[in-house]
């Protein structure tokens, strides 16, 4: 038997990631299991996607043995080790992964074996890398110029020229960085949370904003989970002082509810139910 592509427990040290092909020749995916993230590359464009714990573990388990069928029960216990979830949660995660791999129609990459489980098609595994690449999270977080440069420039005992040179260099880097900030594409990070049959997808500009959104919306999520009947998928965004809640319908259309941030805990059940319809 071949050595697994991903060890069952990732060792500490350099970030290990897998390069995976997708259903589109223009698109490749790097999977960082230890960070629960995908880095989607399309030409010069890069997009970071936060899979969340369950989605990442699901993909990780499939990639431990590409070409080998993994039962639904095993996938569910691996992706949700500390709780029991319904089949709908697994179906939803598989569907989301297929979308990211441009595989929702062909189903060539994550293959369904009726009554047996799922397998990851080994032809779509490009390579495994254990080098230390630029982690996806850091690739979108520009560093601020350090204040120590100013301190050095003001120190009288030394020649001023190195400090001035450093100051100019920092200024140029700062200007370049600010230009880059303005021009870089606004890639949104996502995270999926689950309560029973309800999946809440958060979207925000980066991981820190996701953390904040997850923390702030915990109460709303509990309420929605108690009001929801059957499997539901929701998407939540916060922008410009407002939350935007999208309730997905089976027709792929959405109901939406927008509310000011200070109304987060003041929404009526009736409004939430109307969205969940």
């Amino acid at each position: 038997m071949n050595a697994p592509l991903i060890p069952a427990s990732s060792p500490s040290g350099p970030v290990t990631y897998l390069v995976l092909k997708t259903g589109s020749t223009e698109r490749t995916i790097s999977f960082y299991p230890s960070m629960y993230q995908l880095l989607i590359q399309r030409g010069e464009q890069e997009e970071r996607v936060d899979l969340g714990y369950a989605g990442s573990r699901l993909l990780e388990r499939l990639l431990q043995a590409p070409g080998e069928v993994v039962s639904r029960e095993e996938l569910m216990s691996y992706a949700w080790p500390d709780r029991v979830v319904g089949q709908g949660s697994l179906n939803q995660q598989i569907y989301s992964l297929r979308q990211l791999f441009c595989d929702e129609k062909g189903r060539e990459i994550i293959q369904t074996l009726p009554r047996r489980g799922y397998q990851f098609n080994p032809h779509y595994v490009a390579e495994r890398r254990a080098a230390e690449p630029a982690a996806p999270a850091s690739s979108v977080e520009p560093e601020e110029p350090t204040p120590s440069v100013v301190t050095d420039a003001a120190r009288p005992a030394r020649s001023h020229w190195p400090a001035i040179g450093l100051f100019i260099l920092t200024l140029l880097v700062g200007l370049g960085t600010s230009a880059w900030i303005r021009e870089r594409p606004e890639n949104l990070a996502t995270r999926s949370l689950e309560r029973g049959a309800l999946t809440l997808q958060l979207m925000a500009k980066d991981g820190r904003a996701l953390d904040s959104l997850e923390r702030d919306s915990a109460g709303l999520f509990e309420r929605l989970a108690s009001l929801s009947e059957g499997a539901s998928l929701l998407t939540l965004d916060r922008h410009g002082g407002y939350y935007q809640l999208f309730c997905h319908r089976e027709t792929a259309s959405v109901n939406w509810l927008m509310f000011h941030a200070n109304q987060l805990n003041l929404l009526d059940d009736k409004q939430l139910k109307q969205c969940l319809l």
């Binding site: 997009e47 594409p185 999926s192 259309s253 959405v254 927008m258 000011h260």
Partner: protein, 120 residues
């Protein structure tokens, strides 16, 4: 479903949606968003309570997304008591040169900067 960071085909035809907005003072207003895409251009009309926003321009490719490049816009009536954030979004959306990126949510398009949702 959900937010899909995948490239989308150039939108075409008419999209619309309606929903409710709960303002900072707890008032609930109805909102309707409508947009028509045709030959790389867009024409959009939004109504939030008594306020109408009309804008038009070009649809541009923006990496994995599309964006609305506003060339003309007008807010015809600004209801008193609207939240500052909503007013800002409306005024930004009518400004010539404004760029509004579209995110795909299910089959709908979410204009995040202007807080508008358009569904086929």
């Amino acid at each position: 479903m959900g937010y899909q960071p995948t490239p989308t085909t150039l939108p075409d035809g008419r999209y619309r949606s309606s929903g409710q907005v709960q303002l900072s003072d707890g008032r609930l207003i109805n909102a309707v968003h409508s947009i028509r895409f045709e030959d790389g251009r867009f024409y959009a009309l939004s109504r939030q309570a008594d306020t109408l926003l009309e804008n038009a321009g070009l649809v541009e490719r923006d990496g994995a997304h599309h964006r609305l490049a506003v060339s003309h816009g007008e807010v015809t009536q600004l209801a008193s008591g609207m939240d500052n954030e909503l007013i800002f979004s409306l005024l930004y959306s009518r400004r010539e040169g404004a760029h509004i990126r579209l995110y795909q949510i299910g089959e709908c398009l979410y204009a995040r900067a202007s807080l508008q949702v358009f569904c086929p």
